[in-house]
Amino acid sequence: MRLAQPLQALIDQLLKLPSIGPKSAQRLAMFILRLPDEEARQLAISIIDAKKKVFPCPTCGYLTDVNPCMICTDQRRDNTLLCIAEEVTDVMAIERTGFNGRYFVLNQDFNLLKGNDIDDIDVKSLQERIVNGGIQEVVLALNPDIDGEVLSRYLASIIAKKGVKVTRLAHGLPVGGDIEFTDEITLKKAIEGRKEF
């Protein structure tokens, strides 16, 4: 059976989204077709808008539409406490716990099985941030898997050389787990119980 070309095009685009199979793509396309014109337009505009206006904050790496981002300009936050996270989604999870320091998001892939080396990690901006930022404690909030552990040890040694205290999330995080998918209470406890590296 041949579908109308614009419908087929929509389905093909939706299929590119993660964890969307042919059936889901078809269902989503049908949902979109049934939307009132205005809502469908809003959906399309939102995609273009987000793509155009959202970028990683040059200071912390969090996604923002203003420079510096809302977290970086928030005056109530503790300037002496810096949390290093792997990805923006980890920051979103940590923010829900009420963490009140600043962030540094690595936004870099590190997978030893894919052939990454520790030297692939660009630490220059992190080093500058630590030297210039009046930071007294760095909390490493990397995923508790093997790559995260290797990366944590590497960053800890670099930060310690700058004379800054390094802590890490307390255990209780499931090993092999993912910060993004950890519930708030567990994550909150992990931040509160952070230990010196």
Binding site: G115, D119, V150, Y154
Partner: protein, 365 residues
């Protein structure tokens, strides 16, 4: 821990079966290919979520059926726990304990130790067989050990990947090697402590089963340890040294050449290596002793007995050994399930005997 009841449907050649278990020895008797082992397998899958016979869950679904379903209740010291395992060709596996969705590592699940005819090669077979033997029980009694081993194998794969690079990145290597040493030393320490416990149990057990011969088991490291002391500190110090000295070799071979994944367990009969000097019959006796000792070690480490599953263990034994073995397991505190082709030896031990024919159990109530 005792299994009270299991319901099996659409599993291998079993369409529908309910088995109410006796607290002691349960004998499943019948000709070959009637479904005796399938019942043991179903109990094992109920406990572990996967089989000891295949890694392919699809094979356990009955011919032309879509899903198999297992449901059982077991009694711990103070609770009755129900477990359900369902596997469907289309949407995979689901495990429920006390009606709540869970995974195969749930603390409340049924615990079993299985003896398969393959285990008769425990003495003579490859080292991985013996490593799996001790790892199975250590993982069963300690989730921490399970994580250690799972993570160790992840580290190992990454370490081998790092060793494949030319030239290797020393900073990455050093960081990963640090982890490799830590995990290795932790695993080996746990294994050696366990072997010490097991050694005394096997010696006792083997003595009960066999008139002659003394048995000894020792952990065999894949690297030398200088002053013989085996504790975490000394193990990691010696491993660091060995890895340093052999780095060039590992880089050339692009592979990790030392570590708990290459260790072995040496078994001695009358102070001689059993895999070389014990007769086939003696090796089988040792294997059975090792397995029974595993059940007792489980009890020592976790304060309760697992359920013991014995598949076709009698086939290779002479009458005297058969009756000694049956006497021992039927008079034990633990619950056991044993498959057998023949009746003659067993009927006198006051156990529950059921006849399995064509995927059904006769004389079951």
């Amino acid at each position: 821990m005792k299994l009270k009841k299991i319901n099996i449907s659409n599993f291998r050649n079993i369409s529908q079966l309910e088995y109410t278990a006796a607290p002691g020895l349960n004998v499943l008797m019948g000709d070959n290919a009637q479904g005796k082992t399938n019942i043991l397998e179903a109990i094992y899958v109920l406990a572990n979520g996967s089989s000891f016979r295949t890694n392919n869950d699809r094979l356990m679904v009955q011919y032309e059926k879509k899903c198999f379903h297992l449901k059982g209740t077991h009694q711990t010291e103070n609770r009755v726990i129900s477990t359900e395992v369902e596997y469907c060709l289309t949407n995979g596996k689901q495990i429920k304990i006390n009606s709540k969705k869970t995974n195969q590592n749930n603390q409340n699940r049924l615990r079993v130790v299985v003896f398969t005819p393959d285990d008769l090669y425990l003495v003579k077979g490859s080292p991985s067989r013996r490593r799996n033997y001790i790892d199975y029980i250590l993982k069963e009694v300690s989730n921490e050990y399970r994580l250690l081993v799972d993570n160790y194998y992840k580290i190992l794969r990454k370490r081998n990947e790092v060793l494949k690079k030319n030239p290797i990145n020393d900073r990455t290597y050093n960081l990963l090697n640090e982890l490799f040493i830590e995990y290795s030393a932790k695993i080996i320490t746990a294994r050696i402590n366990f072997i010490n416990l097991l050694d005394s149990l096997v010696a006792k057990n083997f003595g009960q089963m066999n008139q002659e011969g003394a048995i000894k088991i020792k952990y065999a490291l894949s690297f030398p340890v200088q002053d013989g002391k085996v504790n975490y500190k000394n193990l990691s110090d010696n491993l660091i040294k060995y890895v340093e000295e052999n780095k060039e070799n590992e880089v050339r071979r692009k592979s990790t050449l030392v570590g708990p994944h290459l260790d072995d367990i040496n078994i001695y009969l009358n102070n001689k290596p059993a895999r070389l000097f014990a007769s086939q019959g003696q090796q089988r006796n040792i294997a059975v002793s090792l397995k029974i000792s595993e059940v007792h070690a489980f009890k020592e480490l976790s304060d309760y007995y697992p359920v013991f599953l014995l598949d076709e263990v009698l086939a290779e034994f002479d009458d005297q050994r058969k009756s000694r073995l049956i006497e021992q397991i039927s008079s034990s505190e633990y619950q056991s399930f044993l498959t057998s082709v023949v009746n003659d030896m067993i009927s006198s031990f006051g156990s529950k005997i059921s006849l399995v024919r064509n995927g059904e159990v006769e004389g079951n109530n």
